[in-house]
């Protein structure tokens, strides 16, 4: 067995951390965003308009991405689905990142019992994965979108809290913060000048993965059938509606599937940290 045990440990996941991969990620996201913005104009009709005389048309001059089993424009539906998913992702990630970061700062700054209590709540939250939260909340209002906002925010804040808590504790104990403190600068200044510049890149990376979670969760719920309801244009719903026609109209299934996989891959490429 010839094993190069002495081989130097190379950078982890060099494929995804290369600059080219990052640009590819941004490129894919650009294309997806263009579909979301221009799609409805190009399709020229609403995602709900049915044309029962032209169902399951293949992609072509008639309808750019073909039509579904009710003759609705696949392109218009895809565009609205992307808008819906990205809107949900941005709102839920923001409403997790802001309180999570603030709680992390408070816990690191005050310490003591407050720190312990928040950490316990955070740990308990981890025992209930986001999907279970959302399912419980969906019990209150089936078929609506707010359980997704609330459930995702409730599930995602823990990561920000843990990250900010751990990093801030180290930073707050550092000499530069002590110097600032001795010079009479207050907490707001220390947070702005010492903590945020260090924390923001990490928070951004976590947020990108949060967007991935949000997009995947909503598509999963839509596909399984406990998410939004037809005729909403949503990625998971589009897949479950297209699945019975996968032989006759494979493009119908391919459009939302490819969109989902490409968005997730692109976000992963963009978020990949450089390992030195």
């Amino acid at each position: 067995m010839k094993t190069p045990l002495g081989a130097r440990h190379e950078s982890i996941e060099d494929l995804s951390s290369s600059v080219a991969a990052k640009y590819a990620g941004f490129g894919i996201l650009g294309v997806i965003a263009a579909i979301a913005v221009l799609g409805p104009t190009l399709a020229g009709e609403s995602p709900y308009t049915q044309h029962l005389d032209r169902v399951l048309l293949p992609p072509g001059p008639g309808g750019l991405l073909g039509t579904d089993y009710l003759g609705r424009s696949n392109l218009a539906r895809l565009a609205y689905a992307i808008r819906l998913s990205s809107g949900l992702a941005v709102v839920s990630v923001l409403s997790a990142a802001v309180p999570g970061t603030l709680l992390g700062l408070v816990a690191a700054w005050r310490g003591g019992w407050l720190d312990r209590v928040i950490a316990l709540v955070a740990d308990a939250t981890l025992a209930l994965p986001g999907l279970l939260f959302i399912l419980l909340l969906l019990g209150f209002a089936p078929g609506t979108i707010w359980p997704f906002y609330v459930g995702l925010a409730l599930a995602l804040w823990v990561e920000y809290f843990r990250l900010v808590r751990a990093s801030s504790a180290v930073l707050l104990a550092s000499q530069q913060v002590e110097a600032s403190h001795l010079l009479g600068f207050g907490l707001p200044y220390i947070i702005r000048r010492h903590l945020l510049p260090e924390l923001m890149p990490m928070v951004l990376t976590v947020s990108t993965f949060g967007v991935v979670t949000a997009v995947l969760t909503m598509a999963t719920a839509g596909y399984i059938g406990f998410g939004l309801r037809p005729p909403t244009a949503e990625l998971g719903l589009m897949m479950s509606e297209a699945f019975p026609y996968w032989v006759e109209a494979p493009w119908l299934l391919a459009a939302p599937v490819l969109t989902l996989v490409l968005v997730v891959t692109a976000l992963t490429l963009v978020a990949a940290r450089r390992h030195e």
Partner: protein, 313 residues
């Protein structure tokens, strides 16, 4: 021993908070349902034409629907603390006996998925880690990227199309035989193995570059002996610790995959209880899933303690 006690105490507190949170949410869920709860539940239990005022009154007394909210919440909690999950609003059977039936199916699926993911992921990862940048490393990286970007329901969809509809190799639904287990377990295992193979790869690559392994070879051990005696245990700790992280993915995946493949486990029951607005079942299934996660995480903590008894810095 103190570290073990600390782990157990923390996990116990976590379990209590989980139970309280789920219980309280279920309570308000119960109260928020539209219409007269007693009549609704009586209707779903006895059939629409069998609902009488007496039946509704019996249900109301049984579920404390006639008490003020604060008192009812206290009663709800005390029932929960006595591990009394109540009676399913749909079937009328105790929630525990319903769950006892489903738990076996879920455990079988989860165990099969974990085993399959360990068989697929860990050896691949270790081999790739011993030879960074080899073709095996690059292939497993590419596969890991693809499967991490594909959520379980899509993997399941592709497996159904490819293995079930196209070639008829495996049935798409049904828990009756080993073949029925194949697709749902594989669906979960591929997602799990995608991540764990990379963690195993990084752990092994780090260990392979460590000075103590260089020393083991310098003192005359063969490569194989050095890996088996020294590298494996050191590389195992991060892999086992990551298993704890993966449990949450497994739990979410179980809910999705059971629904997708009509697997009669707890996740499937949870989704159906939600559709039927059967709150005692919703509470029971979410509780068992959440507490199961805490229990398994505790087991992972203990294995990590045994593998690496050094006190943490």
């Amino acid at each position: 021993m103190t570290r073990l006690a600390a782990v157990l105490g923390w996990r116990l507190a976590q379990a209590l908070v989980v139970a309280m949170a789920v219980g309280t949410m279920s309570f308000f869920l119960m109260r928020s349902l539209p219409g007269d709860m007693a009549y609704r539940i009586a209707a779903s239990r006895y059939g629409l034409d069998m609902v009488t005022g007496a039946a509704a009154a019996a249900v109301r007394a049984e579920l404390h629907l006639d008490r003020p909210a604060v008192e009812a919440l206290a009663l709800w909690w005390s029932n929960l603390l006595r591990l009394d999950l109540g009676v399913s609003a749909v079937t009328g059977r105790p929630v525990w006996s319903e769950i006892a039936e489903q738990l076996g199916h879920t455990a079988r699926l989860a165990a099969a998925a974990l085993t399959l993911s360990v068989i697929l992921g860990i050896p691949t990862g270790f081999l790739a880690g011993l030879r960074p940048r080899s073709w095996l490393d690059r292939c497993s990286l590419a596969l890991a990227v693809v499967f991490r970007a594909t959520p379980p329901f899509l993997v399941g969809l592709f497996l159904i199309i490819g293995l079930s509809l196209r070639s008829g190799l495996a049935p798409a639904a049904g828990p009756d035989d080993a073949a029925g287990l194949a697709l749902p377990a594989l669906t979960l295992a591929l997602g799990l193995a995608a991540s764990s193979s990379r963690v195993a790869r990084d752990a092994m690559a780090r260990t392979a570059a460590a000075p103590f392994l260089e020393f083991a070879r310098t003192k005359g051990l063969t490569d194989r002996a050095a890996v088996v005696r020294h590298a494996l245990r050191n590389a195992a700790t991060p892999v086992v610790a990551y298993l704890g992280v993966q449990l949450a993915f497994l739990l979410e995946g179980v809910v999705v995959v059971e629904t997708l493949f009509a697997w009669p486990g707890i996740g499937h029951a949870l989704v159906h209880a939600l559709f039927g607005r059967d709150i005692p079942m919703v509470q029971g299934t979410v509780l068992v899933l959440g507490l199961g996660l805490v229990l398994l995480s505790t087991a992972v903590d203990i294995v990590c303690l045994v593998l690496d008894p050094r006190p943490r810095a």
